[in-house]
């Protein structure tokens, strides 16, 4: 699961060094709806921004496995437990697919993980929040995964073929995540008073991170225009947020639950959802490492890499050729 594509680098000057003839052919190919494959010529900045996008997405998967992993041993009953392990396993699987897609652009998985651990590369903000109760797991499984699906279906129509191929498989698996999340949430919503209270509390706490999920409101810029033209960024943050609200708010309201925003409603004239802007200062604070769980998340990943090292080293091969996935 993922929510991102909102942190791109500023365009760099060396893009002017791109061969204008090749650039023209490249842009025409994208305009025709054709995909770009790993060994095609591509503008310097296309490669750079894609690596950034896909590695963030991959990090979000393996870090996103942690808040829900919290509840694996505690999940109530066989059905929830098995579904949760399978779901967290899928997140790791998605990370694997996405790192491979990014590797085709020339950055090794090792370097991507290094950049994750030393804070150079980001992941979705939403995973820096704690999953405090079992109800949090259902809210994450339903609403965060719903957001992720919107985001990923949008991205899967992009121009870079290996990323699209990975997303196709990921979207297929996410539909299971969404269903299992929805079911868990509905069971709590239609259960005892205590279960409903627990769920309402989780919704209240997760609402702001969910509103942050698609990133800050878009401002038109040369930067995002170019990324849209290259089909790296496929939809505006606000459009995706609108789509999310439109589909999922009614599914919360139909259960008689509330969301902590008195302004939240659909304007029947504009057909747009109106809401209170979440605190974007908090958003940037969390991105920059000051969320409630940033440190723990990275340390846990560090633990995994560190404790796995002797296992990997034992089987290390001395390959002379550099190894990059092909597609």
């Amino acid at each position: 699961m993922y929510g991102g594509g909102y942190i791109f680098d500023k365009l760099q000057d060396n893009q002017v060094n791109d061969d204008p003839e090749k650039l023209l052919l490249f842009e025409e190919r994208i305009a025709r709806g054709e995909k770009i494959e790993p060994r095609d010529w591509m503008p310097f900045d296309y490669r750079r921004q894609l690596i950034r996008l896909i590695e963030q997405h991959a990090h979000s998967e393996i870090i996103g496995a942690l808040p829900e992993g919290t509840w694996i041993t505690r999940a109530p009953g066989f059905k929830r437990k098995l579904a949760l392990i399978a779901k967290v396993q899928d997140e790791i699987g998605h990370g694997q697919l996405l790192y491979s897609a990014a590797e085709t652009l020339g950055k090794s998985r090792e370097n991507m993980i290094n950049d994750l651990l030393n804070g150079k590369s980001k992941y979705s903000n939403v995973f820096n929040y704690p999953a405090e109760t079992w109800a949090d797991v259902t809210v994450i499984g339903f609403l965060i995964d719903a957001g992720a699906i919107i985001n990923q279906i949008t991205n899967s129509k992009g121009s870079y073929a290996p990323y699209c191929r990975a997303l196709e498989r990921i979207c297929y698996e996410e539909s299971f995540h969404l269903k299992q999340g929805h079911e868990g949430l509905v069971f709590l919503a239609t259960g005892t008073f205590v279960q409903r209270e627990m769920l309402q509390d989780a919704l209240n706490r997760w609402w702001e991170p969910i509103m942050h999920f698609f990133g800050p409101p878009d401002k038109a810029s040369v930067h995002s225009e170019k990324l849209m033209k290259w089909k790296v960024k496929m939809a505006s943050n606000d459009d995706m947020r609108q789509e999310f609200l439109n589909t999922y708010v009614p599914k919360i309201w139909e259960l008689g639950l509330t969301l902590p925003d008195p302004k939240l409603k659909k304007n029947t004239e504009t057909n747009k959802w109106e809401y209170t802007e979440p605190n974007w200062e908090t958003f940037w604070q969390v991105i920059n490492g000051n969320g409630p769980c940033n440190k723990e998340r990275l340390k846990v990943r560090m633990w995994a890499e560190e404790h796995g090292r002797w296992v990997r080293d034992a089987l290390k091969t001395n390959q002379l050729t550099q190894s990059v996935p092909l597609a």
């Binding site: 041993t73 505690r74 066989f78 392990i85 396993q89 790791i92 069971f187 995994a304 080293d313 089987l315």
Partner: protein, 250 residues
Amino acid sequence: MHSIKNLLYNIADDLLIMGHRHSEWTGLGPILEEDISFSSLAQDKIGLAYQIYKILNETEKEDLPDRIAFLRNESQYRCCQFVELPNGEYDFSLIRHFLFDHAMDLRFRMFGKSNYQPLSFLSRKTAGEMKYHILHADIWIKQLGNNNEISHVRMQKAIEVAFPYSLGMFETFPFEKELIELGIYQGEQEIKISWLEKISMILKEANFNLPDPEKIKPVFGGRTGNHTGFLKPLLEEMNEVYSSDPETEW
């Protein structure tokens, strides 16, 4: 038929606890690909435990699977102490997986010929799954044994820690003799003999030494409800949400 229940609880509880220990690696494995594989082992163990609790419920008139898995007291669990031990590092986890799965595989092969139909049916259903678990375990053991000094030493140490506990998988229990006479299965000793033969062969190929089973005192107790101090905290964790209200649906 009271005696079969003992056997079913032994196996299901072993699988349930082993699966939970394995699941602690999900998201934290030594490399993403192995994380995924190991997570499947966890799911398969817990899934198989569920199937056996289902037999207990449907055929032996015990309570519902969720209730027997997540509501009993510590002393009512019949798992061996081997599966309760914390994961430690990957060396111990892998060795335990190797020793445990070979025993489980041989046990289920034996159940294939059982005249207790629910078990022989389950045996056929899970054969493919078991095959993968064994393949996974054997390849890792061989690789870590033959490749580098550090890993060889670590794994050998883990074998020495794990082995006495692993013999606890074959602890006898009330009515075992009756089950053998009834043709349910050939008994723990038979499984242990084939198991020793199988694991010695693979460990030898991987250049590891298996301690002499004659000179090792097996760690028993699990089958009579005597557990290590590690089981209780794990059970409390496993049961935390479910037991907060077992009458509702989660």
